[in-house]
Each structure stands twice: as structure tokens, then as C-alpha cells.
């Protein structure tokens, strides 16, 4: 199924198109005062037109930037389109950003106009006003608490709308002419990348890039005007913006804005979206909630859940992929659907979900399979702000837990010798705003975008992202060594808390392991193993075997991937203490500092590669109260079984 959008090459033209073709269908819903309020495409278009005329009357011109500060609200999206009608460029900003973080984008783009959701956002903008002298107009949507504000820059959204209606009544042709002036090559929006390192960069995207990618992905999934999406992530994030602005403008589907951040779960159940997006952490939080509630349920329910989830794990994914499944299992699954999976999907608000995406970070295979096993068509995709999101999507029936799928139509991918992924696509960004140097670094003269991600294609041609390219190394024999990829695979086991893999420039891969104390202590208690603490457990043969089994399962996985089969973990040891940010071993966001650890534990590393089977360690540790002490232990070093690629194939 393909959507007909005629010759519309900008978002305002698409809006006019939808208002004409499906004017009476819902465009956007918002839960306000407990009731879902609906705006049809016609109403939405009228609002946008009036608002655009109001902005024009206030001096907003072609090429001006409009800052949008707020949560998912119909009026924020209306303002976005209104700016585009006049050839302006909306700049959505994170509503939970601190005031100081908002200063840079406003200074960078010399923004003069802003639409803010409420008093909270207005306060932030007023706070940075001294640093941002260009900011002259702030329009606020929610008037509550705004009565005493007398700043000359402030005006309410409603007065702007009123002004717009008046000017439009006087000159109804003006706006239609302005809309017609726009073309696909114009800048549609600018998104500031979070910029965890260095200053943020404004990514400039054109109408053509966004519309092209939105349409290709929508055609791939057969999205249409009857689909419904819940907009609950920040609109300043390209992912949300594509799902709640670009794609509905292309397909004509309806987006729903929840009442508040706390009500998302309930609102989702009420709406029943058909198209859903969630980063792994949201999916994980949902699953945790389900697990906790199941533990509190009656024993009959618990047993039913356990039995049927077993069946789902065995055949649920295969059924979703349309693979052959025996008749008995089919019947059992059908029964499970009636008793467990269906009600569970309903609780999650996913009863009507046809297509669900997850992206942003690596998702644990168990988490991923859980959703698929209960019949939710969860798939992974790959993309970024610079690529208008859609680069790779897993097609129905070819979903794997550890790839992001093949390139979507129109996208070309290739790798540098260093394994960095390069992308050429109609959805690529135009430039980084006022930053020619960064643009030149990211996009070469042939139009390839350098992602900084390292990866490769698996035998089916699916893209697999393994690490940031700067962290990827090579073994002596030339095999790719992606430490984060190995560590993540290990950390997906509940028993393993941290892992540090070594191998760059060496002949084999070895690893330090921290087990998850809570999980392993629980496991030990069930087996009647007495222990005094972490260090004691770390030296137990049973625990070593437990960890070895985890590593060997990872090795078996790796053996199936010819590109990195040789980077299986040969030897490991369990560290005598947990890695800690206070000792400088982890960053404050709990990322392992590999080089620091290699240096600090030089003796252990030498023992691993020196072929010894135990090593004595003595070292200083810092306690939380600032005191220091000595810890001494004998650590055992164990070998893990490795698999040859052929054996893995036979086993599979």
C-alpha cells in the first residue's frame, strides 16, 4: 500500500492536502480535563493558518527560527507547522532541559520568536533573556500563573491566534501564496543534538529529507489514515518528531497527546495505538511493572502465567514470523492468547499495535523476545538525527534480536576499512548549522555521512552495529574486536553486572567479570552455598562455573558470526571487588573505563595472558567515607570453551 501525497513537497502543502482529502478525520487528539479532545485535519489546518498569519503580523519572516519549548501538545505542533508555512524554521527544544542548556540554541540561531507551553517554560526563557538579547517574542499556551507577568516580550498564544484571524480575514490570499512559495529543498526544521561531548550541534533537515524518509518507512509498514500513535517522548527528539509530525503529515494518521507524563500508561490503554515506538529502557520498565504485579497475583494466576509464558517463549516468536509450528503448539498458544497474552497486551495498552519499533541503544535479547512472544510485532530500526531516522528497518518475518535489519529503500551503506558505517540517503541532513567544519567532518564530498558507528552485515545482509568506531580494535590476526559488543552480550545475563573485555593488539580475547551480587547471592542461597561476601563468592568454584557457562553461551553466539568468530572470550577471571566510580573504574554514568582498568589491574591482565591459572592480588581501595584500606585475594583464572564456526552451524 502506498500513500498518495501528490506533488506536495513541504509539510504545509501536505496539511492543506489532508484538510481537503480527509478534513473530517482526526488529526490530533489531546486529553484535557479528563476528556479526549479531537482536532480534525480541517480544524488543525485552520488553527495553523490563523497562527501563521498571526506570526507574520508580528514580523516573522522567511528564514526566521521559531523555538518550541514544550511537551507534546497540539498547539506546539500547530506552531511548528505555522512557522513552516511562512518559510520559517522551527527549532524544538527539550522541555526538561535546564534554562542554561536552552541558551546555546537560541544564541546559535539568533532566535527571536518562541512558543512556550506554560509558566515553567516561560520562566526558563525569561531566566536566560539577558544572555539571549535576540529573543523578542515569547508566546505561551497555558495562561495559568501568568497573570502577573508584565514582560514586554510576553503574549499569550490566544492573542496571537486572534491577531492571526483578524489579519487573515483582511487578506485571505497572503498565506496561500506564502505556502506555495515553499519548496522541498527548504529547511524544514532544526534539531539540536544532545551534545554530551562538546557543544550541541544544530542539525538542519529539509522538507524533502523528512518527507522522503517518512514516506518510505510508512509504505514499508503499510501505514495509513486509520493508524493511531501516542506521542509521549520529547518532541525535540527526532524520533518522536518523525512519528508525531513527519509521518502523520505524510500518511494522515492521528496522533494522541497524553494528559501528563504520569498518565501515559492509562492514556495508552484508552487510545490503543496501532503504531508504537519505545526505547529499550521504556520497554524494560514496562516489563518490570508486569513482573512485580505478577508476583503479587494469586498462585493460580502465577502458575498460569508461568506455564503459558513458557509456551510463548518457545513458539510465540516463530508464529509472529510466520514460521511452521506444530498443531498442538498452535492450539496451546491460542489458549494462552485467550487467558494470558491477550489480557497482558491489553494491560500494556498494546492490544491494537501492528508495528512497534525500538531503537536508540542495544536491547537485551530476552526483553526483545518477551514482547514478540506475546504477539507484539516489535522490531528494531537504525537511524539518527542526521539521517531523518530511517536507515535500516527489520522487515516483518525477518526479525532478529541482535541486528537492526537491512537498509530501507533509497539508502546506500558501506564501510570504511576501519569498519565505520557510512550512509548515503535522501534523508541526510543538509548541514550542521553555522558549523562548516563539523559538517565537512561528518559528510564527505561524495555525500557519505560518517556515523562513527562500527558494524558489519550478517550473512542475511542485515546491519549489525557493534560499537563506536573509536573503541573498536583488532586482534593480532586481524579479527575485529568490539569490546562493548562483547560486554553488552555478557551483561544481558542477569548474573553478570559488569564485564571488561581486552584484546586490541593481542592474540586472544580475555575478560574481567563482576557478577551481580544480588542475583548470584540469591542463586547461591538456593543451592545452600554459604558465603561471607562478594570476595568470598568470587572465589567459589560453583560461581566460576556459573560465569563460565554465561561466557560459553556468548562464545557460541559469536561463533555464528564469521566476522568476529575469532573474538570469542578464551580466558576470564572474576574480580575480587565490584568496579566502582569512586575508584575511578567507572564513569559517573556507569560506563567502564577500559584503559584505566587495564592500567590499574596490570598484574591481573599479565596473568591472564601469561597462561597462569591463579593470581595473587593486593590493592588499595577507597571506602565511601574517604578512608582507604587494603584488599588481598587469590583470584582463579579459568578457560572458557570456544566454538569453531562449523561446529556452531552444526549445533544450530
Amino acid at each position: 500500500m502506498s500513500i498518495d501525497i501528490g506533488t506536495c513537497d513541504t509539510f504545509p502543502k501536505l496539511l492543506v492536502h489532508h484538510a481537503r482529502v480527509r478534513g473530517a478525520l482526526p488529526a490530533i487528539r489531546e486529553k484535557d480535563l479528563g476528556i479526549w479532545q479531537t482536532w480534525t485535519w480541517q480544524q488543525f489546518a485552520d488553527e495553523v493558518r490563523a497562527l501563521a498569519c498571526g506570526l507574520a503580523a508580528q514580523g516573522f519572516k522567511r528564514g526566521d527560527h521559531l523555538a518550541l519549548v514544550g511537551d507534546n501538545r497540539p498547539r506546539i505542533y500547530a506552531a511548528m507547522c505555522a512557522a513552516q508555512c511562512l518559510g520559517g524554521i522551527p527549532v524544538p527544544m527539550y522541555q526538561d532541559a535546564a534554562a542554561a542548556e536552552m541558551a546555546f540554541p537560541i544564541q546559535n540561531a539568533e532566535i527571536a520568536y518562541a512558543v512556550a507551553e506554560d509558566q515553567e517554560q516561560v520562566d526558563k526563557l525569561l531566566e536566560i533573556l539577558p544572555q539571549c538579547p535576540t529573543l523578542k517574542h515569547i508566546y505561551y499556551d497555558e495562561p495559568r500563573g501568568m497573570r502577573h507577568y508584565a514582560q514586554a516580550q510576553l503574549a499569550s498564544y490566544d492573542t496571537l491566534l486572534e491577531l492571526g484571524r483578524e489579519t487573515r480575514a483582511r487578506d485571505p490570499e497572503f498565506l496561500e501564496v506564502e505556502i506555495a512559495k515553499g519548496s522541498g529543498g527548504d529547511t524544514a526544521a532544526m534539531f539540536f543534538t544532545s551534545g554530551t561531548t562538546g557543544t550541541p550541534k544544530g542539525v538542519v533537515l529539509t522538507h524533502h529529507a523528512l518527507i522522503d524518509r517518512a514516506k518510505v518507512a510508512a509504505d514499508l509498514e503499510g501505514l495509513g489514515e486509520r493508524d493511531v500513535v501516542l506521542a509521549y517522548l520529547p518532541p525535540a527528539w527526532i524520533g518522536q518528531n518523525v512519528f508525531s509530525y513527519a509521518q502523520p503529515f505524510v500518511t494522515g494518521y492521528c496522533i494522541c497527546c497524553p494528559e501528563s507524563a504520569e498518565t501515559v500508561m492509562t492514556d495508552m490503554r484508552e487510545i490503543g495505538p496501532t503504531y508504537y515506538f519505545a526505547p529499550p529502557r521504556v520497554l524494560e520498565a514496562l516489563l518490570t511493572q508486569v513482573s512485580i504485579r505478577m508476583e503479587d497475583a494469586s498462585s493460580l494466576k502465577r502458575r498460569l502465567y508461568k506455564a503459558f509464558m513458557g509456551i510463548a517463549q518457545r513458539v510465540g516468536g516463530a508464529l509472529l514470523d510466520g514460521k511452521p509450528v506444530g498443531i498442538a503448539d498452535r492450539l496451546l498458544y491460542r489458549l494462552g492468547d485467550l487467558l494470558v497474552y491477550g489480557p497482558l497486551r491489553n494491560v500494556l495498552g498494546m492490544s491494537r499495535v501492528r508495528v512497534a519499533y525500538t531503537a536508540g541503544e542495544a536491547i537485551g535479547p530476552d526483553l526483545f523476545r518477551f514482547y514478540r512472544s506475546i504477539g507484539i510485532n516489535l522490531k528494531q530500526l537504525y537511524g539518527s538525527t542526521e539521517t531523518s531516522v530511517f536507515v535500516c528497518i527489520q522487515p516483518d518475518g525477518q526479525v532478529k534480536a541482535d541486528t537492526v535489519g537491512p537498509a530501507v529503500p533509497g539508502v546506500e551503506l558501506k564501510f570504511t576499512p576501519q569498519r565505520e558505517l557510512l550512509i548515503r540517503s535522501p534523508g541526510l541532513f543538509k548541514e550542521y548549522y553555522k558549523n562548516a567544519q563539523a559538517t565537512a567532518e561528518a559528510k564527505d564530498h561524495e555525500g557519505w555521512f560518517h556515523t562513527g558507528d562500527a558494524g558489519y552485515f550478517d550473512p542475511d545482509g542485515h546491519l549489525k552495529i557493534i560499537d563506536r568506531v573509536k573503541d573498536v580494535g583488532k586482534l593480532v590476526d586481524g579479527t575485529l574486536f568490539a569490546p562493548k559488543y562483547l560486554e553488552n552480550k555478557l551483561k544481558f545475563f542477569s548474573y553478570i553486572k559488569e564485564a571488561v573485555a581486552f584484546g586490541d593488539g593481542r592474540d586472544q580475547v580475555c575478560a574481567f567479570i563482576n557478577f551481580d551480587f544480588e542475583a548470584v547471592a540469591n542463586w547461591a542461597e538456593k543451592r545452600g552455598i554459604a558465603y561471607t561476601g562478594y570476595t568470598d563468592l568470587a572465589s567459589r568454584e560453583a560461581v566460576l562455573s556459573l560465569v563460565r557457562e554465561c561466557i560459553e553461551r556468548v562464545n557460541a553466539d559469536l561463533a555464528e558470526e564469521p566476522e568476529i568468530a575469532n573474538s570469542q572470550i578464551r580466558r576470564f577471571l572474576i574480580l575480587h571487588k565490584e568496579l566502582d566510580a569512586d575508584d575511578g573504574e567507572l564513569t559517573r554514568t556507569r560506563k567502564v573505563r577500559r584503559a584505566f582498568i587495564a592500567d590499574r589491574y596490570r598484574a591481573l591482565l599479565d596473568a591472564l595472558y601469561g597462561g597462569k591459572d591463579s593470581v595473587h592480588v593486593e590493592m588499595q581501595v577507597k571506602y565511601e567515607d574517604g578512608r582507604t584500606g587494603m584488599v588481598a585475594a587469590d583470584l582463579a583464572i579459568r578457560d572458557a570453551k570456544v566454538y569453531s564456526p562449523d561446529a556452531a552451524k552444526r549445533a544450530a
Partner: protein, 266 residues
């Protein structure tokens, strides 16, 4: 202070009120007044008669002596003792020190009960729920939703009150009182048993209510920080007598008040 409605004329005047339970003299000759749109605090050590005073104001207790004058709908009314039903219909709403909500009912239903006095339909009409009853309920529901939105409790709208943490229950109680659209709001220790963050939230809501709806607030509170920060004027009671009255600064400097709180050698 920058606020929507400037503090106006007197709206309530308590004159020479005495209340005794047998030999226990809970209140003795207490007089004070409350001005329109102000936040008026009543403080005092334990057993000083604060809650008794509030109970007199909305007609739960009947004082043996004294009068209460209330300005409602532009006219002064004088009472020897208030009837609680009449107090409610004159625009006085309150919350309780020990939460008095219907634990098994949802937040929404609890707040709806705050609209009880404004409902005009008969029992029978409501049972059939046609015509007037239906229109009326929709109207009240809208008013209730405004309050729910104002106090930011949308996410617990359908949750039974008994399942909520204490701080939220307190907020629901405030919501129920607000649903009655009071002109005078009596709050009996709205912040007791709360942690710092909950207290800050509650202070903000009390100030917002006062500012947005222009509601006059009389509150009892033990947390001196809260009282001194948010109230316009403070009455201090000790052993049923008024020992101080004035702005927070005046009260803070009042020797009788300091003695009552810190104790004094006799």
C-alpha cells in the same frame, strides 16, 4: 506581595468566643478577624485550642459565649453558633487533621462529593440519570476536572483513595474542599506528617489556590517555617487564650509567644 487580588476588608470576625467541655476551657474570650483573600494562620502549642477554633468556625462545636460574623454574598451575617450545614452553604470548606476521605471510593468520586451541596436534582432523577440530572452531573464533573488539573492529580483520578500514599491523600482532601468553590477555606494541619518535598508541593498549592481563585485561607500548622513563609497574619493561641496576633515578623518578636513555645520559669 504581588498577587491577583489585594487583601481586602474583613470577611470573618470572631468576637469573644469561649468554648468549654465540662471543666476544660478549650477557648477563652478569643477574638480575631480574617480579611478577604488573605492567608491567616492559627498557631500554638499542643492543646492550645487551634482545632477547636476551626471546629467552631464551621459549626462542628458550638461555643457557650461569643459571636461569629461572616460576610457572605455581600451581606454580614451574625451567628451565636454556626450550623455546619449552613457554614458549608455560606462558602466555608475545610480539610481535616486526620484525613476524612471515603477510602474505598476513587479520587474522582471523593472530589465529586465536594459538589454535593451544589446538586439540585432529586434522588429519583439521579437514579434514572436523564435530562437535568445528566446535564448537572456533566457540569459538576467539569468543575471537578478543573480542580484535578489544578492540583495535578490526573494520574490517580480512578485510584481508590485507600491505596494512595499519605501526601497524596492530603492533596485529594484539598481537592474535595476546593470542589465546593469555597470563599473561605479552613485547613487543619495540611502539612502534618509530610516530608520536605511534599510540604513544598502543598505550600505551592495553597499559595496557588489563594492566588488563582482568590480564596481566603485559614490554616493551622505546626511547621513554623511554613507558617512564617506563606501566611499574611498569624493568630497565636495558648491554653485557649489569644496571646499574639499580627504579621509573622510581629509574632516572631512577641515575648509572650516565645515564652509559650520555649517555656518560661514561673
Amino acid at each position: 506581595m504581588n498577587r491577583a487580588q489585594q487583601i481586602g476588608d474583613k470577611i470573618l470576625s470572631v468576637e469573644g468566643v469561649s468554648l468549654a467541655f465540662g471543666g476544660v476551657k478549650a477557648l477563652q474570650e478569643v477574638s480575631f478577624d480574617v480579611r478577604e483573600h488573605e492567608i491567616r494562620a492559627i498557631i500554638g502549642p499542643n492543646g492550645a485550642g487551634k482545632s477547636s477554633m476551626l471546629n467552631v468556625l464551621n459549626g462542628v462545636y458550638h461555643p457557650q459565649q461569643g459571636t461569629i460574623k461572616l460576610r457572605a454574598n455581600g451581606a454580614w451575617k451574625e451567628f451565636h453558633d454556626m450550623d455546619s450545614h449552613e457554614a458549608a452553604s455560606l462558602g466555608i470548606a475545610r480539610t481535616f487533621q486526620n484525613i476524612a476521605l471515603f477510602k474505598g471510593m476513587t479520587v474522582l468520586d471523593n472530589v465529586m462529593t465536594g459538589r454535593n451541596l451544589k446538586m439540585r436534582c432529586s434522588f429519583l432523577e439521579q437514579a434514572i440519570w436523564v435530562g437535568r440530572a445528566r446535564r448537572e452531573e456533566l457540569e459538576h464533573r467539569r468543575a471537578v476536572e478543573e480542580v484535578i488539573d489544578f492540583l495535578e492529580i490526573q494520574h490517580i483520578r480512578k485510584t481508590p483513595v485507600g491505596k494512595l500514599p499519605y501526601g497524596l491523600q492530603k492533596r485529594v482532601e484539598l481537592a474535595r474542599a476546593l470542589a465546593a468553590e469555597p470563599t473561605l477555606l479552613l485547613l487543619d494541619e495540611p502539612m502534618s506528617g509530610m516530608n520536605l518535598e511534599e510540604k513544598q508541593d502543598m505550600c505551592r498549592f495553597v499559595l496557588d489556590v489563594n492566588d488563582h481563585y482568590g480564596t481566603t485561607v485559614v490554616l493551622i500548622e505546626h511547621d513554623m517555617g511554613v507558617v512564617m513563609d506563606i501566611s499574611d497574619r498569624v493568630v497565636v493561641l495558648d491554653y485557649g487564650r489569644k496571646i499574639g496576633d499580627g504579621t509573622p515578623e510581629e509574632v516572631r518578636a512577641n515575648q509572650a509567644v516565645i515564652d509559650a513555645y520555649l517555656g518560661v520559669a514561673h
